[in-house]
């Protein structure tokens, strides 16, 4: 279907490329430990871009027949922006990466339900309401262009999201947990998740006073996004075009603590952002963003790379509708050497944060964040002493990543980010 569309496009336009994606997601939801609903969701979409007389036009459809898609894209190009695009050729070899698991693909509803009931039963003694969502997505991605590219790959992804909630003294304490991989979770992974949930619930049985003011804060992998999101925004190539990236002029210079190394890794096996090729046809590669505290790389899609005058990095992402844009694949923070005990000692008299609410307020592009910690513990003398009331944690991510006092040696995947626990000095707690 897509090749005839591109052949038509080649006759009417100067250049064209497209991404065609299909997906089928099966979701099982358990609320308060009981089955609530089972859902299947099927979708597909074609995103077509054409260049006509130096102007680009994009159109999308979720129909399985392209219909007037080419007409719409050509119309959009007539009103479109001027751009020069170097489409990737079809001859470049693609790297090998695991994006699909036959075992996940053939799992039945009963198989998925068994994961939820196992988790529920293993947590049955915790005096908590357990909500569980098990989701399996199967899909395919095809990218092609008028310069001969025609590539594709299959996807599977199994995600388990769990919340244990306990009402104590009028406060609802919710401990979240999750797993995500191309394959079904192993028994070992499920047991590890159960053990972590039990430990966090145990820590939440006692209350502790919170100390306000600047202090050492440990960001568990679930909350590390508060530190990473401002850095991610500043490492978007487009932010350098609009002078909105505080890191734009710091390439090659030491900006963060030496222990901080950050890569974008589309070749990590079986993770949510894993892929052999991006949505514009650029072969995937591991990209160093921050190496031992020094800024090394920014991400670009074809258009931004062309405007800045640099090679594309293979970070084009396309939805059915709208222009391709740059997006990270899997973000991986290199682990440190700290054992769990060493991390708690490094925390001194500080705060250990698991859940931050909201998207944050403040000047995000400058690095500032202020988020309400809805699940956090006071640490004293190398021990977790109890749950603190809801409190705001604030700071500047760029500054705090320059004051890392410890990094955990265990990396945990949260969606498409893999991070260890990050302990920083001098965050504001109020």
């Amino acid at each position: 279907m897509i090749i005839p569309l591109l052949e038509q496009a080649a006759r009417r336009t100067d250049q064209a490329d497209l991404a065609w994606k299909t997906d089928e997601t099966t979701t099982l939801s358990f609320i308060a430990g009981r089955p609530a609903f089972a859902m299947t969701s099927q979708g597909q979409g074609i995103n077509l871009r054409v260049l006509v007389e130096g102007r680009q036009g994009v159109a999308g459809t979720s129909s399985d027949v392209p219909g007037n898609l080419l007409d719409l894209a050509v119309d959009a190009a007539r009103a479109g922006d001027a751009i020069t695009l170097l489409l990737p050729p079809g001859s470049a070899p693609l790297p090998s990466v695991v994006t699909h698991s036959p075992r996940a693909a053939t799992a039945t509803i009963a198989d998925l339900g068994a994961i939820a009931t196992l988790l529920r039963d293993r947590l049955a003694g915790e005096r908590a309401e357990v909500n569980i969502i098990v989701e399996r997505t199967l899909g395919s991605v095809h990218v092609a262009n008028t310069d001969g590219l025609n590539a594709g790959y299959d996807i599977s992804r199994v995600t388990v999201a769990i919340e244990c909630s306990r009402l104590r003294d009028g406060r609802l304490i919710t401990v979240p947990g999750h797993l995500s991989n191309a394959d079904l979770p192993t028994l070992g992974e499920i047991e590890q998740l159960v053990a972590t949930m039990r430990q966090r619930l145990l820590w939440a049985e006692r209350d502790a006073e919170v100390a306000v003011g600047r202090q050492t804060v440990g960001f568990l992998p679930e909350s590390a996004s508060a530190l990473l999101i401002p850095v991610e925004q500043a490492l978007m190539g487009k932010a350098t075009l609009h002078s909105s990236s505080p890191l734009a002029r710091r390439r090659g210079s030491r900006t963060f603590s030496e222990s901080f190394t950050l890569h974008d890794d589309p070749l990590a096996a079986g993770r949510p952002g894993s892929r052999p090729v991006d949505d514009e046809g650029v072969p995937s590669q591991r990209l160093a963003l921050v190496e031992q505290g020094s800024i090394e790389g920014f991400i670009y899609d074809l258009e931004t790379a062309s405007r800045v005058g640099v090679p594309p990095t293979g970070h084009g992402r396309r939805a059915t509708f709208g222009k391709p844009h740059a997006a990270f694949s899997n973000l991986v923070v290199a682990p440190g050497e700290g054992s769990w005990t060493e991390l708690l000692v490094a925390l001194g008299d500080g705060l250990l944060v698991q859940t931050l609410r909201g998207d944050g307020q403040g000047n995000v592009s400058g690095g500032a964040f202020a988020r309400v910690a809805s699940l956090a513990w006071r640490v004293q003398g190398g021990e977790v002493i109890g749950l603190v009331p809801e409190i705001t944690v604030a700071g500047n991510a760029h500054d705090l990543l320059g004051r890392i006092v410890a990094l955990g040696r265990d990396v945990e995947w949260v969606g498409s980010r893999a991070t260890p626990t990050i302990v920083v000095d001098g965050a504001s707690v109020f």
Partner: protein, 460 residues
């Protein structure tokens, strides 16, 4: 389409089935600075089916296209059978309606060339950039949409709707030395190209405010008499009262459920708040919700006391009450959940001048950049502010952050003016079940006065 839907419903073997189909045409154009960032259009068709069976939970199937409709009904039925439940799902009763609601397309946007839409936005964007040399950046967007929606149930409801919407939004960025300020304005209508051409788009207003904010001082932190303009008060009520009135969220939050228990006093006698999905021509208005229930005006707070909640059929059935027509979903990819429509504060008496008079020193908070509320606490950033000095509005101040305990703050509400207006007509609400996204909403209020509210900022 109607016969395809009714045929599929007749073929369903489930005890209860509902079908929702959507066909959407949309255009989006974005300028950043003087550069066109993108101009695109698209068309999408899809649907979602829900089935229920005795002793079983929901089985749901969503899909793109409509050819798969009969197969998807069978799939939803199978999924329901795979979900045994010990507590049956009970649906609140709704009137069984059959109606077609076709809005005036008002100069159908689908017939207007993309180039004309781009030219209009480019002109407005250039006007904004040209207001002053200190306007260094802009973000301007034009969006239009025509949606055809069908909702039908195995109980006999068959409803359809065809409606247009347009939205134009401006953000101006001003810079002088190291000072950077951003101001936004937007406009939207349940209409088409004729409305777009006739409107007075406030792009220059955004630019002028961004310039004025460059030299505006910050309000010092403290407790002050505060007047909220309709946009600021509307946003606060949406966040702090509205979201805590959504019954499905309360069902899984026993602490919030207790906080919002009916009969609890949450504000002074002067405050009455409601949600009205049946109000004419507003972004959150619909004749029927995404379960086929008619929309209505639901009181949430009456004279300061909590009196109502917003329900889907399932939450109403569980509570033994009637659905309120608030079951809304972002698209056919999502389940309907209890969501706000048009949230309002009822009118009082008098004018802004009446409220300002008598305040020796205070602050007038205008518009809202954003806010959040959790249980009884809230924070809200206004778009800008004005000092009130000796009974008069005085100089502009940078955005003011209000925070505190909601009930304590609202108990000190001591005046509600009679100048109600709807606002935030171009905004959207992102609360919802995981994955459920933006919905068109509106909020409305008159000016209100609080005789002492906590203002954050630089220390006094």
């Amino acid at each position: 389409m109607k016969s395809r839907i009714t045929d599929a419903l007749r073929a369903s073997r489930a005890d209860y089935t509902d079908i929702r189909l959507e066909h959407t045409w949309a255009t989006a154009i974005v300028f950043r600075g003087s550069r066109l960032e993108g101009a695109s259009s698209g068309e999408e068709v899809g649907g979602i089916i829900r089935c229920l069976n005795r002793g079983r939970g929901w089985g749901i199937a969503s899909f793109t296209g409509v050819d798969q409709l009969p197969a998807m009904v069978a799939r939803a039925h199978e999924l329901s059978l795979a979900m045994p439940v010990d507590q049956p799902v009970r649906l609140g009763e709704i009137p069984i309606l059959q109606a077609d609601h076709v809005a005036d397309l008002d100069g159908d946007v689908r017939g207007i060339p993309l180039g004309d839409k781009r030219a209009l936005l480019e002109r407005l964007n250039q006007e904004m950039l040209g207001v002053d040399r200190r306007i260094v950046d802009s973000h301007s967007t034009y969006e239009d949409r025509v949606t055809e929606r069908w909702v039908a149930t195995s109980e006999g409801a068959v409803l359809s709707e065809l409606r247009p919407s347009v939205r134009v939004a401006a953000a101006a960025v001003a810079r002088e030395d190291s000072s950077l300020e951003r101001a936004t304005e937007s406009w939207s209508a349940r209409g088409g190209w004729r409305s777009v051409e006739a409107a007075d788009h406030p792009f220059r207003t955004a630019a002028r405010r961004a310039i004025a904010l460059l030299t505006a001082p910050r309000m010092r932190a403290g407790i002050y008499p505060v007047i909220l303009d309709p946009r600021c008060m509307g946003a606060l009520m949406h966040q702090a009262i509205g979201h805590l009135s959504e019954a499905d969220a309360l069902a899984i939050r026993p602490d919030a459920d207790q906080l919002m228990r009916p009969g609890r006093r949450i504000a002074s006698d002067l405050l009455t708040v409601g949600d009205d999905g049946s109000a004419a021509g507003l972004p959150g208005s619909n004749a029927f919700d995404d379960e086929g229930a008619p929309t209505q005006n639901t009181l949430l707070v009456q004279h300061g006391v909590l009196v109502g909640r917003l329900h889907t059929r399932e939450t109403a059935g569980r509570a033994g009450t009637r659905p309120t027509g608030n079951a809304r979903a972002t698209s056919f990819r999502h389940l309907p959940t209890a969501r706000l429509t048009n949230t309002y504060v009822a009118n009082g008496r008098g004018t802004l001048d009446d409220l300002v008079r008598g305040i020796r020193f205070g602050v007038y908070c205008c518009d809202a950049l954003g806010g959040q509320a959790h249980l009884g606490r809230f924070s809200l950033a206004s778009g800008w502010g004005q000092i009130i000095r000796d009974g008069h509005l005085a100089e502009l101040v940078k955005p003011v952050v209000l925070a505190g305990d909601l009930a304590d703050t609202l108990q000190r509400l001591d005046a509600v003016a009679g100048d109600f207006r709807w606002s935030h007509l171009a905004s959207s609400c992102t609360r919802g079940a995981p994955g459920n996204g933006r919905l068109s909403v509106a909020d409305g209020a008159p000016h209100v006065r609080i005789d002492g509210a906590t203002v954050g900022g630089e220390s006094a």
